[in-house]
C-alpha cells in the first residue's frame, strides 16, 4: 500500500476526532471569548473590545459571585458529609448482602432519579415548606444529598464488594475486633472508591440547579443560580465567567478519578 493510501485510510479517524474536539471545545471557546469580551454586538464575529473588567466584577470580594461561590462550596461539602455518613455504612452492609436483596435496595436509591425532576422537587419544596426548610442551607443540602446518594451508594458498595472478604476474616482471626478490622483493613482498601464517590457528589452538588432553585431560592444563591440570573439578565460575561469557574472542579475531577478508580472497582458498580 502506498503512503498516500495509508494516509487516506486515516482520514475518517481524523474527521471523527475533529468533530469530537469541536463538540467539546466549541462551547468552551465561546465561553472564553465571552469571558474576555467587554463589548461584543452584532454583526461582529469577534468581541469589539477585549478586557478583564468583568473578572474584576466577579472576583470583587463584595460581589455576588464570590458569595455564591462560598455558598456553593459550603453546600457541596455538607452534601458530601451527609452522603458519606449514609453511604459508607450502607455500602458496607450492601456489599455483604446476597444479590437479589442488594439489587432491590440499590434500585431504591435510584428511584428519585427515575421520576421527572420538576414534579419531585416541587413536592419536596412543598413538604420542606411545612418544616421551615425552604430557603435554608440545610434544605438545599438535603435535596442535593438525595441526588448524590445514588452515586455514593453505588460506588461505595462496589468498592466494598471488590475487597476479598477473607482479608477482614484474617484481621479478625489475628485478634482485631470488628471496628479495628474495618478501620485498618477494609476502609483503607475501599478508600479510593469512597474518595471518587465523594468527588462525584461534590461536583454534582456544585452543578445542581433545579432542586436549589425550588428549595433554596431566593435566600440561598449558588453559582448555578447566579449563572442563571446573569444570563437571564443578558449579562453573558458574568454568566461565562461563572461557567468557567464551575468548569475547573470538573476538570480536576477527571484527573483525580483516573488515579483513584481502578478497573476492578468500576466493574462491580451496580452489581
Amino acid at each position: 500500500m502506498t503512503p498516500l493510501a495509508l494516509a487516506l485510510r486515516r482520514v475518517p479517524h481524523a474527521v471523527i476526532l475533529a468533530v469530537l474536539a469541536f463538540a467539546i471545545l466549541g462551547p468552551i471557546s465561546n465561553l472564553l471569548l465571552w469571558a474576555f469580551a467587554e463589548q461584543w454586538y452584532f454583526p461582529y464575529k469577534l468581541p469589539v473590545t477585549w478586557g478583564t473588567r468583568y473578572w474584576e466584577v466577579v472576583f470583587r470580594p463584595s460581589g455576588d459571585a464570590m458569595a455564591s461561590l462560598g455558598t456553593s462550596v459550603a453546600i457541596a461539602c455538607f452534601t458530601v458529609l451527609v452522603c458519606l455518613a449514609v453511604s459508607v455504612p450502607a455500602g458496607y452492609a450492601l456489599a455483604r448482602l446476597k444479590l437479589p436483596l442488594r439489587a432491590l435496595i440499590m434500585l431504591a436509591f435510584l428511584l428519585p432519579q427515575a421520576f421527572p425532576n420538576l414534579p419531585v422537587y416541587i413536592n419536596v419544596a412543598r413538604i420542606f415548606y411545612s418544616f421551615d426548610l425552604n430557603g435554608t442551607i440545610l434544605g438545599v443540602v438535603l435535596v442535593h444529598a438525595v441526588h448524590g446518594l445514588v452515586y455514593s451508594v453505588w460506588i461505595t458498595t462496589a468498592s466494598f464488594a471488590a475487597i476479598d472478604r477473607s482479608l477482614e476474616e484474617a484481621a479478625r482471626g489475628m485478634g482485631a475486633g470488628p471496628l479495628r478490622a474495618f478501620l485498618t483493613v477494609t476502609l483503607p482498601l475501599a478508600l479510593p472508591g469512597i474518595m471518587a464517590s465523594a468527588i462525584f457528589v461534590f461536583l454534582e452538588s456544585l452543578d445542581e440547579f433545579t432542586g436549589t432553585f425550588f428549595v433554596g431560592a431566593p435566600e440561598v444563591t449558588t453559582l448555578p443560580l447566579l449563572l442563571y440570573t446573569a444570563s437571564m439578565a443578558g449579562n453573558y460575561q458574568i454568566a461565562s465567567i461563572t461557567a468557567l469557574i464551575l468548569l475547573v472542579p470538573s476538570v480536576l475531577f477527571m484527573l483525580v478519578v483516573q488515579r483513584f478508580l481502578r478497573a476492578d472497582v468500576l466493574s462491580k458498580v451496580g452489581r
Binding site: A171, R172, G173, A176, V185
Partner: protein, 361 residues
C-alpha cells in the same frame, strides 16, 4: 520458639445453609503437636469445617474444644489459633513486615519484642530481604511464605491451613510441603490442613480425615487408610493410579472374575455383587499360571511403568519397575498375594471380609 501444647476435639459438627447441608455429624480429634489433614473432593465441606473451627462460620450443631476449652461459640480471636487462607488474604495496602506484624500490633506487643520476633520469623521463612515489599510485588511462593510467617509469628499452638499450596507449581509445592512439615515439627504446632490432593495428605499427615458429601468417610493414619480402606471411595481416592476394582461373579468352587471365559477362582465364597480390590503395585507379572490378561497400553513414568491390561472385559493397572516394552495385545500373566487383596460390597461400597486365594504361583 516454643508453643504450648493443645489438642482439638470436634464433636458431631454440622452446618447447613437453608436446605443444603454442607457438613454433617463430623467427629474427629487432633492430639497436641499432630498434623491432621482434612482430605476430600471439591465441595465436600472441608473449608466449611475448617472455618467453623476457626470461628469464621457459626456452627449449626455440635461442639469444638481446643485445649480442653469449649470454643464452639467463641469469637475467632479467643480461640488461640492462626489461619492460613487459600487466597493467602495478605493485606494489599501493607508491606510484608506490616502484614506479618499485624496481629502483634493488634495485641499491643511491645516494639522491641515485635522487631525481634519479626526477625526470627523472617529468617525462618526466608523473607528477610523482602520485608519492605508490597504483596503485589511478590511471587506466588513468596506470598505463601508471608501468609505462613504471619500465622507462625503469633506463636499460637494451633494453626489452620486451607489449601495453602494450591496456587503453586508442582516443584514449589513439593518444596513447601517439606518446609511446612519441618516447621510444624520444629515448633510443635498442632495443624489442621485442608487439601483435595491425596499426595499432600499422604506425605504430610500424621492423621487423615477423608470427607465426602459433608460426612467423614474414614479417618486414620495414612498407612492405615492406604492399607485397609473401609470403602470403595477411600480405596480409589488414595493412590495414583487408584486401586483396581474388579467385578466378581459366582463360579464353580468360589468367586471368579466376571466376564472371564477361562474363569479361575480368585476367592472362596460369594462372587456376585462383590468387588475385588488390588493396588497396581501389588499386581505382579508371572511367567506361568495366574490370570491371563491382554496388554493394552503402557504409561512410562521414569522409575516405573504403569501398564493397562484387559482382564476379560475389565481394565486393570499394574506397576512395573523400569521401562516396559509393550506389545499391544500381548498375553500377560497376572498374579497377587492373598494379603494384598481387598473385597467390597458392590451395592454399599463397604469393605467385606472374604478369603482371597493367592494368585502367585
Amino acid at each position: 520458639m516454643t508453643v504450648r501444647l493443645r489438642g482439638i476435639q470436634v464433636e458431631s459438627l454440622s452446618k447447613s445453609w437453608g436446605n443444603t447441608q454442607a457438613v454433617k455429624d463430623v467427629t474427629f480429634s487432633v492430639e497436641s503437636g499432630q498434623f491432621l489433614v482434612l482430605l476430600g473432593p471439591s465441595g465436600c465441606g472441608k473449608s466449611t469445617t475448617l472455618r467453623m473451627i476457626a470461628g469464621l462460620e457459626p456452627v449449626s450443631g455440635g461442639s469444638i474444644h481446643i485445649g480442653g476449652n469449649d470454643v464452639t461459640h467463641a469469637p475467632p480471636a479467643r480461640r488461640g489459633l492462626s489461619m492460613v487462607f487459600q487466597s493467602y488474604a495478605l493485606f494489599p495496602h501493607l508491606n510484608v513486615a506490616e502484614n506479618i506484624l499485624f496481629g502483634l500490633k493488634v495485641r499491643k506487643v511491645g516494639r522491641a519484642e515485635r522487631d525481634e520476633r519479626l526477625k526470627r520469623v523472617a529468617d525462618m521463612t526466608g523473607l528477610s530481604e523482602l520485608l519492605a515489599r508490597k504483596p503485589a510485588q511478590l511471587s506466588g511462593g513468596q506470598r505463601q511464605r508471608v501468609a505462613l510467617a504471619r500465622a507462625i509469628i503469633a506463636e499460637h499452638p494451633v494453626c489452620l491451613m486451607d489449601e495453602p499450596l494450591s496456587n503453586l507449581d508442582a516443584k514449589l509445592r513439593h518444596e513447601m510441603r517439606v518446609e511446612i512439615r519441618a516447621l510444624q515439627q520444629r515448633l510443635g504446632m498442632t495443624v489442621i490442613y485442608v487439601t483435595h490432593d491425596q499426595v499432600e495428605a499422604m506425605s504430610m499427615a500424621d492423621k487423615v480425615v477423608l470427607m465426602r458429601h459433608g460426612r467423614i468417610e474414614q479417618q486414620g493414619s495414612p498407612e492405615e487408610m492406604y492399607a485397609r480402606p473401609d470403602t470403595v471411595f477411600t480405596a480409589t481416592f488414595l493412590g495414583t493410579p487408584p486401586m483396581n476394582l474388579i467385578e466378581l461373579a459366582d463360579g464353580a468352587g468360589g468367586a471368579v472374575i466376571k466376564g472371564m471365559t477361562d474363569a479361575s477362582v480368585v476367592a472362596a465364597g460369594q462372587g456376585d455383587g462383590r468387588l475385588l480390590g488390588v493396588r497396581p503395585e501389588h499386581v505382579v507379572l508371572l511367567d506361568e499360571g495366574g490370570l491371563t490378561a491382554r496388554a493394552e497400553s503402557a504409561d512410562y513414568h521414569g522409575a516405573d511403568t504403569v501398564v493397562t491390561a484387559l482382564l476379560g472385559s475389565q481394565r486393570i493397572n499394574l506397576r512395573v519397575p523400569g521401562r516396559f516394552a509393550l506389545e499391544q495385545g500381548a498375553e500377560l500373566r497376572l498374579g497377587w498375594r492373598a494379603e494384598d487383596v481387598h473385597f467390597f460390597d458392590f451395592e454399599s461400597g463397604r469393605r467385606c471380609e472374604q478369603d482371597a486365594l493367592p494368585r502367585v504361583a
